[in-house]
């Protein structure tokens, strides 16, 4: 882990790039880069949270994007109803996504393996239809936010550079939190339960409760990403929690490297930059991306982070 391996060098370079990006965008006169990378950072936060349950806990949730939707809708609905303070909106987003994660997790965690994949997908679909049915808040067409969340001055979410750094600091905070978490006793129980749940139960851990708490934490972090995304796009719609978005999150985690704290960040940057680059080449870019995912599955199991870790100087 320590020392200047190629992996550490690339990770350090990525972090430095993320930190100085707005400066570069300002000098080079490319403000769209800030918009693109804010989006990348927010989706990376969602991917990092999915990695907590998927990479460390072995819970492959195919419905993780609903917490983006829930967090986004809480902010959007509160803004619509005239509650603009971020001190109210963001904690509310965390709380509501945590409550939903608790209810969904309590049911889904009764199942395992492929049942878990499919039932999380089905619950995501259920909530997607709830959002489509929210006539008062735009239904299928979505809900435009006319004002971003308001905090005390000088913090101004409408300033693109400030919002970028707020998102980045929150992402780093979340990653540090997950790093602490997985190296704690709690994290050991979660990882033990992934390897052999029966054995963990036999030595006395109520693994269901541990896994449920882990599921709720991941849901809350993803809800925070949703609150950020709503502020970023100034728009919430059911498309935020479409099942393909959940698929994208899984792609980011596996592409970057499961079960590593920085893996999902690398994956999010790689996937979204790749999307941007491919869609510049051809309108039919998914015809290239699809088989690429298959190739990653077949030949690069540890994802990009896994490949980097193998490279020796």
């Amino acid at each position: 882990m320590t020392g200047l391996t190629p992996r550490n060098f690339i990770i350090a370079a990525l972090l430095v790039i993320l930190i100085v990006l707005p400066v570069y965008a300002g000098i080079a006169g490319k403000p769209f880069l800030i918009t693109l990378f804010t989006r990348i950072i927010i989706l990376a936060m969602a991917a990092v949270s999915l990695n907590l349950i998927m990479g460390y806990g072995g819970m492959v949730s195919f419905g993780h994007a609903i917490y983006i939707g829930i967090g986004g809708y809480v902010v959007g609905i509160l803004a619509q109803e005239g509650f603009l303070s971020g001190f109210l909106q963001w904690p509310a987003a965390l709380l509501v996504s945590g409550l939903f994660a608790a209810a969904i997790g309590a049911l889904c965690l009764r199942t395992r393996g492929v049942y878990f994949i499919m039932i999380t997908l089905a619950f995501a679909q259920l909530l997607y239809y709830v959002a489509v049915g929210l006539d008062r808040y735009g239904g299928d067409d979505g809900l435009t936010m006319y004002r971003r969340s308001e905090f005390v001055r000088p913090l101004n979410m409408s300033d693109k550079t400030q919002f970028y750094y707020v998102s980045l600091i929150l992402l780093f905070g979340v990653m540090a939190l997950i790093w602490k978490l997985i190296n704690s006793r709690f994290g050991m129980v979660i990882q033990g339960s992934r390897s052999n749940d029966l054995r963990m139960q036999a030595i006395g851990f109520p693994t269901y409760r541990y896994r449920l708490v882990c599921f709720v934490i991941a849901g809350m972090i993803c809800g925070l990403a949703g609150a950020l995304l709503a502020n970023h796009t100034e728009f919430v719609s059911p498309a935020m929690m479409h099942w393909t978005r959940s698929g994208d999150l899984i792609v980011m985690v596996v592409l970057g490297g499961m079960g590593s704290v920085v893996g999902p960040l690398i994956g999010a940057v790689a996937l979204l930059v790749l999307e941007e680059a491919l869609s510049g080449i051809t309108e039919y870019w998914q015809i290239i991306l699809g088989p690429m995912l298959l190739l990653v599955v077949l030949f690069a199991r540890g994802g990009i982070d896994g490949l980097l870790a193998k490279v020796r100087l």
């Binding site: 492959v60 049942y115 679909q125 015809i287 991306l289 599955v297």
Partner: protein, 305 residues
């Protein structure tokens, strides 16, 4: 009452359609242990092939037969090229790899057939109404769908329970190494099973084609419904898939048909009309949640996995 009967028939038709998809999914999962998200793509491809071949030949039945053959060929080719390499991998690998295939097939269809939807016209002899009871008319084509799917279900039963191939399929589901050790060509068997599954999905797609618009992504929503079916029925069980498919079809259709009326009795009409569309879309997912709470392995769990 007459409306109720009609809705029951619609529900039965949806259920049988879901069975065609769910049977393929559950067969492929039961035997190859493969989670195939791309199954819905074959539903879409079957419908597109049907649109092309009926336009080319000018005959619906001939076009449908060609469409099934073409879908099975695409399916078996995909199995040989890509899917085969996923067997024995983690389920997460299946999810990711076949998710990539969905993206691929959606774009491929957009490239070949264009982004606009297509329609498949019905021949005149199917485009009539049939009097099932005095005063109750029902479209002949929908009755034809019900009959064809029932025949396919019967065919599946005979194939799996009464033939040598079926015996191998069942044996492969219980213990694949042993079947291989006894000298059966497992690779060929797997390719055939995958072809059978894609053929069923293609059949479902092409039969829906004259009712719905043929469009990109049409296989995805129904795929999720098929997942719900096999979760309720118990993954790997064809009998469970059959019963669960009909249950889901009936609950969904009758819920959509009558929930608004039932709710308007209980609630003020404005809030009833606001929540009933969302609630009726949610109904089958609620049913699935209840089944999973009571029986986490589904209604007909397969014990020997």
């Amino acid at each position: 009452m007459l409306l109720f009967l009609e809705q029951c028939l619609n529900g039965l038709q949806l259920g049988l359609m879901l069975f065609l998809l769910a049977a393929g999914l559950t067969l492929i999962f039961g035997i190859m242990d493969l989670v195939n998200l791309a199954h819905g793509s074959f539903y879409m491809i079957g419908a597109y092939f049907a649109a092309t071949f009926t336009a080319l030949t000018g005959d619906f039945i001939l076009g449908a037969a060609l469409a099934i053959a073409a879908t099975v060929l695409v399916g078996m080719a995909l199995e040989v090229i890509a899917i085969r390499r996923l067997y024995g991998r983690d389920h997460l690998d299946h999810v990711l790899g076949t998710f990539g295939l969905i993206l691929f097939f959606n774009e491929l269809v957009r490239l070949v057939w264009g982004p606009a939807g297509m329609n498949v016209p019905l021949p005149a002899w199917l485009n009539t109404h049939f009097t099932i009871l005095p005063g109750v008319e029902y479209p002949t084509y929908r009755i034809a769908i019900i009959l064809v799917t029932l025949l396919v279900a019967l065919f599946m039963y005979v194939l799996v329970m009464r033939t040598r191939i079926g015996m191998l399929i069942r044996a492969g589901a219980s213990n694949r190494e042993m079947v291989g050790a006894l000298g059966v060509n497992i690779n060929l068997l797997y390719t055939l099973v995958f072809g059978l599954g894609t053929g069923l999905a293609g059949l479902a797609g092409l039969m829906q084609a004259p009712i719905l618009t043929v469009q990109i992504g049409m296989g995805e929503n129904i795929l999720i419904l098929a997942f719900v079916v096999i979760i309720i029925g118990g993954i790997g069980s064809i009998r469970g898939a059959f019963i669960a498919a009909i249950l889901v079809g009936l609950v969904d259709t009758i819920g959509r048909g009558f929930l608004p009326d039932i709710l308007s009795l209980l609630l003020p009409s404005r809030s009833a009309s606001a929540i009933s569309p969302a609630l009726s879309s949610m109904l089958i997912y609620l049913m699935m949640a209840i089944v999973l709470v009571l029986r986490p392995q589904g209604l007909f769990p397969v014990s020997n996995k």
